[in-house]
Symmetry: C2
Subunit: 454 residues, 2 copies
């Protein structure tokens, strides 16, 4: 007995060096979980197909891939996506971003944005998202509710920021205790949504050290210890942010987070471009990891993350769109950008510098590693049983169909092998190719979806 | 009297610092040329609409933009698009690219690829393309024919490459004279296609100095002088290519091209990452310019082109996809990448380098400059009367419709001004948003198109 069997060519990355392609695989799903993945000759396949309530056959050249995991985005910046990036950071923050975030005091406005965001992410093939909401408790809980209703797996955090320096008077928590208490209440409210909404978890969200008082950071660390809820924040994103924390504490950003009890298992630190090797080792020891945001880093981080080095040191890493510092919500596009960015880091960028000192040796990653970060790597960082289509994991999956209208992919059956086809999907598939999406066994995009993609 | 009036919101860039938005503009087209662009209150508008054979009303939020100009791509590498970029250059060239190009000796194979390519480019909104074909005369002339038939404005060049070092025995011209003569015959054959096919011009195409003998370069320079046909080639693309020419001639790549009479008005040199300031000035003096290929440069050029500096020195610059060294045929995506690449050049990429010496000051460009390069900048480099919707130019234009299925663009009427909407189109529009395309007044994508987009 099963609810669903999906028969398809599966492409996935069980580790960051391995592309696994399963032709004509039957993925058996019961109560949202994968119970078996059966090849054409595997025993029990005919019985599994016969016993299924629903059988979906995905015809080549379409493929089935694990749902995409976005480990860092700012939900409230969704209306800014793709715009306002040609201006200085200070202007971006104080004239565009903070005023926009402040509008989420209006719950009706908030819900309109959340519904657009969540349906948009699902339509891009994102099945898990780790999100900063805003400082507002009500808007934050509404975001969690919308994720649950529309079927997006999500970690949703109320943004804590209470330090007057660097935050506007009209958009910050009133005091350290107000900051911690509001975060606590938002955790309870999100957990109380309960019912069929266990897809969504709260997450403790200090914006970053430069916008939080010591007292708030202390309280949030204690809140994490008391509740067991995990943590997201920014860490060593840019020269300024990295230097600010060094100046204030005489310690690196990662050490400071750790001192406040904020570097724990599954803590997601976004960007981390300026993390030193000691910091990377500390993250690994704590079970924390990095949200690698290659596109956003090009605009706001002053450097590229040496992601290959961080991977080689055993640090957990997922990919983040960083909507809207990153202008593209597509995690496949982020994969492509992660590869491109790593190539630019390896070669260097300035032709006036001698080749021998221009770049950083052995910095490149390939599309397999990038896709792994966008699926299993992110899932492992978050401690979620998704990211790979194998028995025991939840069924979060995406059909990419290059015959869809608007696809930029042309297939060349005589020339292509599986590796080239995979590389092309990762580099060129976009929203137009996303034909079906399931989260936790529920169809959320495509035929029979409760959510209609636009 | 006119054949066509298109009423729409026009977004375009008359210079690289100016976004021009014309609301409710009526673009009047006769015999493929724009005869007037009339605002709502302009005299004669009602008469122009009444006298038109066809009126097309483009409703907001869709916009009309000039057709996109791709000044550098390798037509024969179309089947490789998006694949085989995770491997070393040598392997990419000798195990994938040259063997693929060699297959175009088979004209049936060639025509199949050309039809896919040309319809694909039009569907991405590319209305002009400057293309390397292969060494084969017949395949090259067929490419020109297919462009004319399907309605793509194009410069099509037979690839000349005759130097045994660095080219495989099974894919090169037999001798310098064979190389020049075959190029000459391909020019005559393309010009003889004539008739309604004046959209397509031949272009003289030495692959690059490292694959050509002195005798062939001399002969091709003389051929340009004798025929007036313009030239495309690669120049100072990478450390290796730049250094090779210095070693062989004791002169820079640009000086060598000039010595052989190949740096002329409208000569397109691709990449040019290693061009010095003297080289840039020489290009400007000759009326030659650069095909800036930001995505491909990340993989093959060892550096980013300092494009802002080249623009500031007055060098003509267009954008090139460099299919398939660049993995994306969308010129809008190339615009977004050009901006991102310029930001990475400005900030630098390696966090281990001190901020003060990491990047290159004042290197950034914005989306307006990038779009200008992809339209008017490219058109001026090629000497073609396109790239801007104004009277006297040919009507090459694209409708971008963010309400199309598969679009990644969400509109926020209460939050957006024209500049933010433009930025979002440039950064996020893709093939799914390309709703209609006209080239030379002929509908080639969308309703009433003679070519159906897939």
């Amino acid at each position: 007995m099963s609810d669903l069997v999906v028969v398809a060519t599966v492409m996935q990355t069980p580790d960051r060096e391995t592309l696994e392609v399963l032709h004509d695989a039957a993925v058996v799903v019961r109560d949202g979980a994968i119970t078996a993945v059966l090849g054409p000759a595997d025993p029990g396949r005919a019985e599994a197909l016969a016993a299924a309530t629903e059988v979906v056959a995905i015809e080549p050249p379409a493929v089935l891939v694990p749902g995409l995991v976005d480990v860092h985005l700012h939900a409230s910046q969704w209306p800014q996506l793709g715009s306002a990036l040609d201006i200085p950071l200070e202007e971006w923050l104080f004239q565009h971003t903070f005023p926009l975030e402040a509008r989420f005091a209006d719950v009706d406005f908030a819900v309109g944005v959340w519904e657009s965001l969540v349906s948009g992410l699902l339509s891009e093939g994102t099945t898990t998202a780790v999100m900063f909401a805003t400082v507002h408790e009500e808007a934050t809980v509404e975001l969690a509710r919308v994720c649950g209703d529309l079927g997006l797996r999500a970690d949703v955090g109320r943004v804590a920021m209470d330090l007057p320096d660097g935050t506007p008077e009209w958009y910050r928590d009133a005091s350290p205790s107000a900051s911690v208490e509001a975060s606590h209440r938002s955790i309870q409210a999100i957990e109380a949504l309960g019912g069929g909404r266990s897809l969504v978890r709260p997450i403790i969200t200090p914006r970053f050290v430069p916008s939080c008082t010591d007292a708030a950071l202390t309280g949030l660390g204690e809140l994490a210890e008391a509740t067991g809820v995990s943590i997201q924040t920014h860490c060593s994103e840019s020269d300024w942010a990295h230097g600010y924390v060094l100046d204030r504490f005489g310690l690196s950003d990662a050490r400071v987070l750790d001192r406040f009890g904020l570097l724990r298992e599954h803590t997601v630190v976004a960007h981390g471009v300026q993390l030193g090797t000691d910091d990377l080792d500390l993250l690994r020891e704590r079970g924390a990891g990095i949200a690698h945001c290659p596109l956003s880093n090009a605009y706001f981080a002053d450097s590229a993350l040496p992601v290959r080095e961080a991977l080689d040191r055993g640090v957990g890493i997922g990919l983040g769109s960083d909507v809207a510092g990153g202008f593209d919500a597509s995690m496949l596009r982020q994969c492509a950008t992660a590869v491109t960015s790593s190539r630019m880091l390896e070669s260097g960028v300035d032709p006036a510098v001698a080749p021998t000192s221009r770049g950083r040796a052995d910095a490149r990653i390939d599309t397999t590693a990038a896709f792994w970060m966008a699926t299993l790597g992110g899932a492992e960082l978050l401690g979620l049983p998704v990211g790979l289509l194998e028995p025991g994991r939840r069924f979060d999956a995406v059909v990419l169909d290059p015959t869809s209208p608007g696809s930029s992919i042309t297939e060349w059956p005589d020339l292509d092998d599986d590796a080239r086809r995979f590389e092309r999907f990762v580099r060129l598939a976009g929203r137009a190719d996303v034909a079906r999406v399931w989260v936790d066994g529920r169809a959320v995009v495509g035929d029979h979806a409760t959510l209609q993609s636009r």
